[in-house]
Amino acid sequence: MNQIPLSHILFVSTALFFIGMYGLFTRRNMITMLMAVELILNSVNINFIAFNKYLYPEKLEGVFFSLFIIAIAAAEAAVAIAIIINLYRNLHSIDVEAADEMKF
């Protein structure tokens, strides 16, 4: 079970988190931004599962938490896609640059 050290898995999840963050800040396509958000949430899932498996193998709290995250992420994605479709109907584009009604 312990052939792969915990730090390796944490490295993967941290990399995934920052790939998601990078995607969220650089992409201009709303669907890609949504995917980036999902990447962030899933990287945290990996974190929870890894901590649970390596540090507290006799308990299940971390696994349950990641189940809740998956459910919430699905609800969020449903709302986000509704928002994006609504914007697409009004703007005929899914580029966030097109949504610049409000400037500082």
Binding site: F17, G20, M21, L24, M30, M33, V37, I40, L41, S43, V44, N47, F48, F51, N52, L55, Y56, K59, E61, G62, F64, F65, F68, I69, I72, A75, E76, V79, A80, A82, I83, I84, N86, L87, N90, L91, V96, A99, D100, E101, M102, F104
Partner: protein
């Protein structure tokens, strides 16, 4: 528990009421009945009567602080629906669904104010946020509303990601392998980097949710773009309840390691006070000014988080009540205005003396002038920081910022009383609307004259029954 059950059930009742009736008055009355039930149910919880005995496995903990926060949230929602419920009809055709979403938000509020594990905190915050994304975009044909909702979603999802990463780090740093907030620090003497990283990520994500600087940049756009009725709801009830959860989290979980993170909260509070107040001065639209003013008020509420003593907890409840009621009142008047700029308020005093007079009391309260609730709210915040013995510079800075805030609040008063104009409201406000505004103003004044009596009475009722 009563509040969580009732709000979730009543949200579904509201959705069905949209199927069975098309009468808008009927739908509104169903919502008002639900809110009255919520207030009563929460009160019943306080005096020890429960609708159902649910074993929550200590995941929720119903203490006086959280239940009082609930009571203020539900009470102000009731006032808000009575005042502005009629204006929701103008947003779109789905009145029943808007009310249903508001009830779901209140369910999240009831969880956030009484959570005892980080899992419940996360679920509560998300139950609050997801309906709010929809309410922000409720005006489907309005591009600004759509854009605000997209921005709110992206920022909200990002801060949720940060919060989850923080929780994951804290989970790795506990020795117990549970999410109970009082276990997070137990058995530790030194701060590990993992623990500190988790704490800071939680701090940042909660600061996002309460729109504290430098994580506030979504607030003006979202508050400006969202339909004004829902801005009122977001800026008051939601913000204040998340603050109750924020203080609960840091008090229960990190209270013993306070000196390690106090300096970060002090910096965030100072930045929030400065940015909120100074930017509000330059706004042309009253709606946007109120968005920045809500940031500034969040800066004051952060002082309670910094101090975390008895005075701070009492003060945040008073602040929650004073701030929510005053802001709901101003927004209720603002919704009725034709023009949202400062010029739109010109000469309102001559056209609508009642609206102008009550509005003045609300603005005075927000500015923290004595004899209004806002004064004692601010006083409690400042004295709680003084009681800690450190951070006196922050107290002085906060007082200076409050002085700046007088400028932009008084600009509205000046426009109403000393400038000529027609101060046009969209329609002649009804007698009930005016009466309710007067009631709100009276509450604000009573809070300012006898704050101790109200707080004392509330706690006496709770402990002696």
């Amino acid at each position: 528990m009563n509040a969580i059950l009732l709000s979730a059930v009543w949200g579904i009742v509201m959705m069905f009421s949209g199927i069975f009736t098309t009468s808008k008055t009927a739908i509104r009355n169903v919502a008002v009945v639900g809110l009255v039930l919520l207030v009563l149910g929460n009160y019943a919880d306080m005096i020890g009567y429960h609708l159902m005995t649910v074993n929550v496995h200590k995941m929720l903990y119903f203490d006086t602080f959280g239940l009082l926060g609930n009571l203020i949230a539900f009470g102000s929602t009731l006032l808000y629906v009575l005042l502005s419920g009629r204006d929701m009809e103008k947003v779109g055709h789905h009145l029943a669904e808007y009310f249903a979403l508001i009830f779901f938000v209140l369910c999240g509020v009831a969880i956030v104010t009484t959570f005892n594990t980080l899992l419940m905190l996360f679920l509560g915050i998300e139950i609050i946020s997801i309906p709010l994304y929809i309410l922000t975009g409720a005006d489907k044909r309005n591009l600004k509303s759509n854009e605000a909702s997209l921005k709110y979603f992206l920022m909200g999802a990002f801060s949720t990601g940060l919060m989850l990463l923080g929780i994951a780090f804290l989970y790795g740093a506990t020795q117990t392998g549970t999410f109970f907030i009082d276990d997070l620090w137990s058995g530790k003497t030194a701060v590990t980097p993992l623990f500190m990283a988790g704490l800071l990520l939680l701090l940042v994500s909660m600061a996002f949710k309460v729109s504290a600087a430098p994580f506030h940049f979504w607030t003006p756009d979202v508050y400006d773009g969202a339909p004004t009725v829902f801005t009122s709801f977001m800026a008051t009830i939601v913000k204040v309840s998340i603050f109750v959860g924020f203080i609960r989290l840091f008090d229960e979980a990190f209270g013993d390691s306070q000196e390690k993170w106090q300096v970060f909260v002090a910096i965030i509070a100072a930045a929030t006070l400065f940015i909120g107040n100074v930017t509000a001065v330059f706004q042309q639209s009253v709606k946007r000014m109120l968005a920045y003013s809500s940031i500034a008020q969040a800066g004051f509420m952060l002082l309670a988080l910094l101090a975390l003593n008895g005075v701070a907890k009492e003060g945040i409840i008073l602040y929650a009540a004073a701030y929510s009621i005053a802001t709901i009142g101003i927004f209720a008047v603002l919704i009725r205005m034709k023009d949202y700029t400062f010029e739109g308020f010109n000469g309102l005093a001559r056209q609508q003396p009642v609206l102008a007079a009550t509005c003045t009391i609300f603005l005075l309260s927000l500015a923290g002038i004595p004899l209004t609730g806002g004064f004692f709210a601010k006083y409690y915040m400042l004295s709680s920081v003084v009681a800690t013995g450190h951070y006196l510079w922050l107290v002085i800075f906060a007082v200076l910022c409050a002085a700046v805030s007088v400028y932009y609040y008084f600009r509205v008063i000046q426009a109403m009383y000393f400038k000529d104009g027609d101060g046009a409201t969209e329609a002649e406000p009804g007698l009930g609307f005016k009466g309710l505004l007067v009631v709100l103003a009276v509450i604000v004044v009573v809070l300012g004259v006898w704050p101790q009596s109200l707080l004392g009475q509330l706690s006496r009722l709770i402990y002696t029954w």
